[in-house]
């Protein structure tokens, strides 16, 4: 291969290092209105009266809207396939507010300053209602957050259950009765936030034909178009959504969090509108990772082989049900896929509380699902006296295995069967052991005040949502032998535009520079479900490959006509006849466009898959624990991943290197905290601490290649999997260092010290 597997400079690199105007907000629009939202200060309340008169009287205020200005229509902010598996439980502006930060009044003004002042002049009279803050008290609470007539798609609204999943394979109860050993543990993960450095930012205007144009930092342009059209009851043809460069998303922008508001202002006033979240709003009024408290039971036979895994999930969805059902479905689907236990069961509930609204966040349930599982497996290894790597080797999937959970549990519905056609997990463990210095560090460093230890955890993810995700591509040839690659695939900073260009270039036998990429504009590019679920490389990439091969067929066919012989082949971006004559791509296309056998050479393709092959990863952590202060320091992380064929080594490494500190944040420094009234406590980067350049431990990133037959050039997904298990690897390393078993994140020094005192007493 000439392009695949080779380092290529990003196709969007130049404009980014030059700081050119490529992000959503990097433009000025005449007569633009600036929007601000008056948000509920109460966790649960009914709006009794809104006095907007003082705000409206402020010079420069153009519009003030409340729930009374919109029909009572419920939608989901979750940008997912249609019909959405998330409940339709959200209004554009609320009367019944369900969390601190819920949207009550929208102000549009001539400047941001005026809009900010106007928001403060709005007087809202609330009837404060009792609230639910503990997810364990949500089910069957007398407080009901979403009454039945409000919405649709909620599992059991009267019981505050947003979503429910119950699936099993085999004879689970029997397996536990007959098991030699049964191990059980309960583990919890916190609210953490995506923290893209670019906040949610969106602009809208009417074009010259009075169509609504939305330029937004989104992962899901086609879902934005559909949902905005639905909310405002206008035809899809009246809406165009443009995705410029996006400044990071990590799931946070798989959500319609204001596009419907700017649309309202532009449609009602005819003027351009702009809404940007402040960092504070990002940290309490955008979306976050669903906290889960999960109990696992594992039945193990006398040889250490897992016979059954039983998983109970209690997921806190917060005030609304965005991604509630599907996130915990993924928690179970992925966590219950990696070990070969023949009997598996999951019972899961997502509940409403009056806390932060959760949503999509990189890993999408897998980090929560693997967190407890991989700590419990470590506990089992300890109790059985088996090396934790060996225990995993005895039980993890092998080539040719079926993945039974995949069939019974899809995302919000039944899934599709999967067989493992590519796996190098065993090599991931080999490489990781060596790179971290497992044998040495497992035993040494246990004396003294600062103790050192190593831990491991393994994980699997998927490649797109089987039977749901679809991507489409339009590739057309130009007379200099270049190609426009127009696709719905949504590069949100990951580099997918470059990966897609590489796939097209490899297939067409041209350098990457000959591929001109334009992605995600609902007027100019074909459909794609969007950039989530680790789908882009596998699903959108599959479409790129098909379109490129189709164009190549056409090039060959045109060349045969132009050279007047059937004996032609494509070689290195030219058509070569058996008699030695040849034509360049440029010559073929020029003649095809202008003079002979006239046609536009173009490939058009769609791709979806009933398979969602599993990428695998083994993450190793080397930590030090100060037994006097309880402080944990991560010294070194080794992350080894099986992503099939690596398309672009530095870009793939970059995905791992960026994912690891997000998980370390969850383990050590990140936690969205609410006070006893549900109000946010830490709403800036001083108090909500994401990793900086000086916090990063030593990082070793490796790949253990395999070849996925169903992926483009053998590739699998890399975007999500490396975030799944650094946190449990750190926790397992802490146990190895000092014997304290942590079962919840984030890890606090107090907890470590408490653990040490228990050991000491």
């Amino acid at each position: 291969m000439k392009v695949i597997g080779i380092s290529t400079v990003r196709v969007d690199g130049l404009e980014l290092v030059k700081g050119r105007a490529v992000f959503a907000d990097d433009m000025h629009l005449d007569k633009m209105l600036y929007l601000k939202i008056h948000r509920s200060p109460h966790a649960h309340a009914m709006v009794k009266k809104i006095d907007t008169s003082r705000a409206k009287a402020l010079p420069g205020v153009v519009a003030v809207y409340t729930h009374e200005d919109f029909p009572e229509r419920y939608f989901t902010t979750a940008g997912q396939g249609y019909p959405e598996p998330s409940p339709r439980d959200t209004r554009i502006l609320e009367q019944h507010v369900r969390h601190v930060g819920d949207r009550v009044v929208l102000v549009a003004a001539e400047s941001l300053d005026i809009a900010e002042k106007a928001v403060k002049l709005i007087e809202v009279e609330y009837e404060i209602l009792p609230a639910i803050f503990d997810p364990e008290e949500a089910i069957d609470n007398k407080i009901v957050l979403h009454s039945v007539e409000d919405a649709s798609g909620i599992a059991t609204p009267k019981r505050n259950i947003a979503g429910h999943v119950e699936e099993s394979v085999g004879e689970v109860d029997k397996a536990f009765e007959e098991a030699e050993h049964v191990f059980e543990g309960t583990y919890s993960t916190p609210y953490v936030q995506q923290c893209s450095i670019e906040p949610h930012i969106m602009l809208s205007w009417l074009d010259e034909r009075d169509r609504l144009v939305i330029r937004t930092a989104t992962q899901v342009p086609h879902h934005v178009r559909r949902i905005v059209a639905e909310v405002h009851d206008i035809p899809v043809r009246k809406v165009r959504v443009i995705k410029p460069r996006v400044g990071g998303a990590f799931g946070g922008k798989q959500e319609i969090l204001g596009e419907e508001l700017i649309a309202a202002v532009t449609l009602k006033t005819g003027r351009p509108a702009r809404l940007e979240y402040t960092r504070e709003e990002e940290l309490y009024a955008a979306r976050s990772r669903h906290p889960q408290k999960n109990t696992y039971r594992i039945a193990v036979d006398k040889d250490g082989i897992f016979q059954a895994i039983d998983m109970r999930i209690l997921e806190n969805s917060g005030a609304y049900g965005a991604h509630a059902l599907t996130v915990m479905s993924v928690s179970a689907q992925k966590a219950l896929s990696i070990y070969r236990a023949p009997n598996i069961r999951v019972i899961a509930d997502a509940v409403y509380t009056n806390l932060f609204v959760a949503g999509a966040y990189r890993g999408y349930g897998s980090p929560q699902g693997f967190f407890g599982l991989e700590i419990l497996v470590d506990e089992i290894a300890d109790k059985l006296g088996i090396d934790p790597i060996e225990l995993r080797r005895k039980n993890h999937l092998q080539l040719g295995d079926d993945v039974p959970i995949a069939k019974v549990l899809g995302e919000g519905r039944e899934g599709f069967p999967i067989t493992v056609d590519s796996i190098s997990l065993s090599e991931c463990l080999d490489i990781g052991m060596r790179e971290i210095g497992w044998d040495e560090l497992r035993k040494s460093g246990k004396e003294g005040v600062v103790k050192r230890g190593v831990g491991v955890a393994i994980t699997a993810q998927g490649c797109g949502i089987a039977g749901v995700d679809m991507g489409a591509v339009f590739l057309k040839m130009n007379e200099d032998g270049s190609f426009n690659l127009l696709m719905g695939a949504t590069d949100l900073g990951t580099g997918s535009d470059t990966a897609m260009a590489q796939i097209a270039a490899e297939a067409l036998e041209v350098p990457v520079e000959k591929i001109i990429v334009y992605s995600s504009d609902t007027d100019l590019t074909p459909f794609d479900t969007g950039a989530y679920a680790s789908s882009t490389t596998y699903i959108s990439g599959g479409a790129v490959l098909k379109a490129a091969l189709s164009a190549k067929e056409q090039i060959l066919s045109q060349a045969k006509k132009l050279l007047d012989t059937d004996n032609v082949e494509i070689r290195d971006g030219a058509a070569v006849a058996a008699d030695g004559r040849s034509m360049t791509y440029g010559e073929i296309c020029t003649k095809s466009l202008y003079t002979e056998h006239q046609t536009q050479i173009m490939g058009i393709a769609s791709h979806m898959s009933y398979l969602s092959p599993l990428p695998f990863n083994a993450t190793f952590a080397d930590v030090s624990v100060d037994t006097e202060t309880g402080l944990v320091t991560v010294n070194h992380i080794v992350s080894v991943t099986d992503v099939g064929q690596v398309l672009n080594p530095p870009m793939a490494e970059g995905q791992v290197e960026g994912a690891v500190p997000q998980s370390l944040g969850m383990a050590i420094s990140e936690h969205m905290v609410a006070d006893k009234n549900g109000a946010p406590v830490n709403t800036d980067f001083n108090d909500y601490h994401i990793y900086s350049a000086v916090d990063m431990p030593k990082m070793t990133t490796r790949f253990a290649p395999s070849h996925e037959p169903s992926g483009p050039y053998g590739a699998k997904a890399v975007g999500e999997i490396p975030i799944n298990v650094p946190a449990p690897a750190v926790i397992n390393a802490i146990y190895n260092a000092c014997g304290v078993r942590v079962r919840s994140a984030p890890i606090s020094p107090e907890e470590i010290l408490r653990g040490l005192n228990v050991l000491g007493s």
């Binding site: 030059k18 700081g19 907000d25 450095i197 800036d684 980067f685 350049a693």
Partner: protein, 153 residues
């Protein structure tokens, strides 16, 4: 009325009290300067002030009398920056690119003071620029490559 140098051009401006340098620069179309937090915590809005990297969201335009302000747009001919930009591209240090201008400004400031910084000095210089994509691995690697070759020559 305040007078300062912006990207080599002398400016005499009269702005509303309270106008931050970040707002002012973006209003003038200098979009390399990004908005990320408004509190001087993320560094996306970094610019050079008298050769030092500063957060433009914390600076009031009216406080800039006599200062020299530079953004990426004004550094087109700067050799140190050009080396950093090329190394960022070649190393794969750019992902979403939103914090990239801030990182480049921070590193340009560092290399103006010290043409051969250590990894620790590079990390310290980048500590004020938050990045959620790269884990800082490749940006540090890119900066080290420039450092080894002598950044400002």
């Amino acid at each position: 009325m305040v007078e300062f140098l912006l990207n080599g051009e002398p400016l005499k401006v009269d702005v509303e009290p309270g106008t931050t340098l970040l707002e002012f620069l973006r209003e003038r179309g200098l979009f390399s300067v990004k908005h990320g937090c408004d509190h001087g915590e993320c560094g996306a809005c970094s610019v050079l002030m008298d050769d030092l990297a500063v957060n433009s969201c914390l600076l009031l335009v009216n406080s800039l009398d006599g200062r020299r302000i530079e953004t990426l747009e004004g550094l087109e001919g700067d050799k140190t920056l050009a080396k950093l930009q090329q190394e960022f591209l070649d190393t794969g240090a750019v992902q979403c690119g939103y914090c990239t201008p801030g990182m480049l400004i921070a590193l340009t400031a560092l290399l103006r003071q010290n043409s051969n910084p250590s990894e620790e000095q590079i990390r310290d210089a980048l500590a004020g620029v938050l990045c959620r994509c790269t884990g800082y691995v490749k940006p540090v690697e890119a900066a080290l490559k420039v450092s080894v070759r002598g950044g400002n020559r």
